[in-house]
């Protein structure tokens, strides 16, 4: 286990910059998730930590060592790839013991470590099989086994669950988190799935366009997103964002006036953010027209028209509202987010 420090990391392909000065501190044993839309540079950053991409500028440290110029094998890291990257011509046991074999470990030690990892991941009955004889979930487990068998200082995961179906993804999510809790190894995990990020991370790094938008604990990001991008990216369904003006009477969005908490400074060009679950139905409030009702069982998701804006509300109640019906919305005043419409920065 070791801390990982990224200091002013830049990356360019030719004259095209893709990472613009990334600074991240990952504590010893921490589970950090790099999350962001496709093309934001998160996988590139992970590959730079792994040593599979060169560093254009800045320093990557693992423990006390700057590893910029070290080969992947010398960084004491293990990586789980999106498509598992298991060697098709080797059995599960050989796949798992391969790295130990090439680091000069004895046969007895290899067998011991492979069996230890196989026991943790429930792979014992599969050790003599070939990757082609395994299901997606089993392959994923073998890929993790190959990573843990060497007891590295850092685990790197590159979208490891994206090839699995939704149900298996939830199961494997729990397994990876459980594995981290058991082994306590510093982990950097890349995903574009904000649910994975929220459920697994000690710390989330939200990236966009080669920059870090915000770093923080999952619930901190959820409760106080630093800007509009993070507000929209973290949370599902996404936060409602309504453009308008902050006035003394409330937030004016066209013909609609939304209530504001006290003490908010006026602004002419602002965005009113409210999460779907922070809207409630009341006898009196902001009138909205029901557009679509989606019963989810545990809750009801309703798409509403609010003046010229479309918003989503998630309600615990089982609603019987019909499309076209007018309801009244009551935003939770303690959960309102205000952003500058030009810079996207947080105002409150």
């Amino acid at each position: 286990m070791a801390p990982v420090t990224l200091k002013s990391i830049t990356k360019s392909y030719g004259t095209t910059p893709v990472l613009h000065g990334i600074d991240i501190d990952i504590a010893d044993g921490e589970f950090v998730v790099l999350v962001g839309p496709s093309g934001c540079g998160k996988s590139t950053l992970l590959r730079m930590i792994a040593g599979l991409e060169t560093v254009t500028g800045g320093d990557i440290s693992i423990g006390a060592r700057v590893v910029n110029d070290l080969e992947p094998k010398d960084r004491d890291i293990a990586m789980v790839f999106q498509n598992y990257a298991l060697y098709p011509h080797m059995t599960v046991a050989t796949n798992m013991g391969f790295s130990l074999e090439h680091r000069g470990a004895g046969k007895a030690e290899i067998a011991e470590r492979v069996n230890w990892a196989a026991d943790i991941l429930g792979l014992r009955p599969l050790l003599d099989r070939y990757p082609r004889q395994l299901s997606g979930g089993q392959r994923q487990r073998v890929a993790m086994g190959r990573a843990i068998v060497r007891n590295p200082q850092v685990f790197l995961f590159d979208e490891p669950l994206s090839n699995l179906d939704a149900k298996l993804r939830v199961v494997m999510r729990g397994e990876i988190k459980g594995l981290h809790q058991r082994l306590g190894v510093t982990t950097v995990y890349v995903t574009h799935d904000q649910v994975e990020a929220m459920t697994m991370a000690d710390k989330i790094v939200v990236m966009n366009g080669g920059r870090v938008e915000q770093v923080g604990a999952p619930l901190d990001l959820y409760d106080r997103p630093a800007n509009l991008f993070v507000a929209g990216f973290i949370g599902s369904p996404a936060m409602n964002a309504i453009a308008g003006r902050i006035t003394a009477d409330g937030f004016m969005a066209g013909d609609v006036t939304l209530p504001l908490p006290p003490g908010v400074s006026r602004a002419d060009n602002a965005v009113y953010g409210i999460r779907p679950e922070h809207l409630s139905l009341a006898a009196a409030g902001v009138p909205a027209i029901v557009k679509l009702v989606e019963p989810m069982g545990s809750e009801t998701q309703v798409t509403l028209t609010l003046g010229e804006h479309t918003v989503i509300g998630v309600f615990r109640e089982r609603l019987k509202s019909q499309p076209g019906e007018t309801v009244h919305l009551q935003p939770d005043l303690t959960a309102i987010h205000l952003f500058d419409a030009t810079t996207g920065g947080r105002l409150n």
Partner: protein, 280 residues
């Protein structure tokens, strides 16, 4: 693939296939049957599809008229060396062109490929002069070196390159993380996975070398050094006329390894070409 053809259609289809088979099977059948006919029966009209008389002494005479066993060995060991050499050279070159980034790699590969466009007849005279200078005329060296570093190897390099291009990069990256250097990645990861392509290269190269005709007649002059295709033309009587039955007996023995290679490895050959995207 499952089809729902009616019995009548099936009969028609198999009938058509049998008819189409005739031009492919007939020469082999004619070679086999004629190799055990007395020479006068070969030219009988109408021709006999089944020999009227069997004369197996033709096979013994093949070995009496020429050092055929020695020539057989010549062809076999030359083909084996050429196959092995080409597999080594083409797999390494193919891997380099597919995976290693170096300046002008694509342009260099194109230049290498252009070599395929030059007919061997064009280069045979300069090659003769070169090997003459090196004292290698009437030795087997030209028959080994020319294919290994010539057109067959270029084609094999192309096949291997196409295969390695399709190999997932993540496998190599995983190997790098696991502690392997470039050569070990090639040797332990890429090459074992390239078995189908290597199989196709091996078959193609072996057959090419086994059937080589122009180069042996240019570079070899003594019957002891001859290879089989060249030896086949030497079964003539005192007047220079072909001894057809003996020649066809020799041809049958020459074709046996080729047929065996195809029967044993045809699946691998097709798979290999399919993997490299060369199959239509």
């Amino acid at each position: 693939m499952k089809t729902d053809l009616s019995p009548r259609m099936k009969v028609a289809l198999y009938g058509l296939m049998c008819v189409l088979l005739i031009p492919f099977v007939f020469p082999t059948w004619w070679m086999l049957t004629s190799s055990v006919k007395p020479i006068s029966d070969i030219f009988a009209f109408p021709p006999d599809l089944w020999p009227r008389r069997f004369d197996f002494s033709t096979y013994a005479r093949v070995f009496e008229l020429q050092p055929f066993a020695r020539q057989y060995w010549n062809s076999a060991y030359i083909a084996a060396l050429v196959t092995g050499g080409t597999m080594i050279i083409s797999s390494m070159a193919g891997y380099a062109f597919a995976r290693i980034k170096f300046p002008f790699s694509n342009a260099i590969f194109m230049v290498v490929l252009l070599g395929l466009l030059i007919p061997s007849e064009v280069t045979i005279v300069p090659l003769f002069q070169m090997f003459l200078k090196w004292g290698m005329i009437n030795t087997h060296w030209p028959l080994i070196l020319v294919p290994i570093f010539g057109a067959p190897s270029v084609f094999a390099t192309f096949v291997m390159r196409q295969f390695f291009i399709a190999l997932p990069v993540e496998l190599e990256e995983a190997a790098r993380v696991d502690g392997l250097g470039r050569f070990k990645i090639f040797w332990l990861i890429a090459l074992p996975l390239a078995k189908p392509a290597l199989g196709a290269v091996a078959i193609f190269t072996f057959l090419h070398s086994w059937n080589l005709y122009l180069e042996p007649i240019v570079f070899l002059s003594s019957t002891q050094m001859f290879t089989l295709p060249q030896a086949l033309t030497q079964f003539t009587d005192a007047y220079g006329g072909a001894m057809w039955n003996i020649q066809l007996a020799a041809a049958t023995m020459t074709a046996i390894p080729v047929l065996l290679v195809f029967i044993v490895a045809q699946k691998q050959f097709v798979e290999g070409l399919a993997h490299t995207g060369l199959k239509g």
